[in-house]
Amino acid sequence: MTIEVQRCEGCGRNAFPPHLLCAACGGDRWSALPVSDGVLERVTVVRRSLGGAPADPPTVGRVRIEGAIRVIARVEGGAAPGDRVQLDMHDGAVVARAT
């Protein structure tokens, strides 16, 4: 139940999605940092999208995680802004669920 974030071995800065070089120090050595949770900042329900109005509209949210990184996620289980959410990868998508 985690997502994988990059941690720069040179300066400790986190990156997501993955980078080649660190924006802070230019370093190219990364370690994988598993992140299991964050705080849900904003949500929006996607009522209309490509091809029309889905019967089960997805909720998209922004989650603040360790190192002040912000991740876009599918929000499930009725989590609301301000909630601590658990993060996981599901079918290639970052999914956030209320803890």
Partner: protein
Amino acid sequence: MAAFSLAPDRAVDLAWHLGLRLDWMMEDVLGMNVVLHAARAIQAGDASVVAIVAGDRLVGADYGAMVNDYNAATRDYLAPIPVGGPNPLFALITQDHMERHGLERADYGRVVIAQRAWAGTNPNAAYREPLTLEEYLAAPVVADPLTRLDCPPVVAAAEALVLTSAERAAGSRGRIVRLRAADAVFNHDGQQGDGLTTGIAEMGPRVWKASGFGPQDADVIQVYDDYPVMVLVQLEELGLAPGGDVRALALSLCGPGQGPAVNTSGGLLTAGQPGAASSTHGLVEAARQLRHQRGDGQVPGAARAVVSAYGMVLYRYGACAIVATLESEEAGS
């Protein structure tokens, strides 16, 4: 950047992955960036006349295919959610903006309604009928708080402009439009911010300084309008919000004949978003205004303009920003 195999990533995506903030970049999908390079080629004497053509034909499933494969980050981290294009991302940014400035949906409606009024003067606009606040507020929701009227209609379209040296232009008929200043910044904050600050914030003061005129002198203002929130952000960054008051700025937008002349073609929100030509849309409209060729939509006596372009969403918001100022005079004067 030159690569056959980096698609869907472009130069700005590579810059982001390399942790680089750039002041100069070759990227031909940004029409206004091509204009900046063309101006330098003319200054250097490499070319005397440059025709800049920008356009895309997006029909049927083309748009969906493009937005889901916009770049590798979108393909790998946004499309699986699915976000279905940038609308939900700008819904989140609009929520932040509403909270920061104490705005309501009706305030963004002022942007759309004013631009619709301008679109009434543009025979090429997709939506030209006047729009009321009631109609705006009742539009179908796309991604809260954005409705269909906050998202530009996708159109197949093209735009073109011709750039030449001042020397060569002096012999032409009609008003001459000079490029006074231009600036660009790419990947300004590495997607580490909140999306409510674009590269225009840092460019604004130096562009005005290089122009020889200031925000209060601009007769015509064209800012990139993929979403109403970004119109207000860019106007504020260019120093066009009275006393920094963003709500007063929104309320000042009225359409032809009253208040500042902003996005006088109707902008992308009403004229349509034509792929790569979106970037030059404001510039073409500004040039037509300064040449006094805008018919019913003409801003009387227009002589100075500012134009911005913004976009290329890397992951959460746009990463490219370009600003130019223009000034016109009668040929031979």
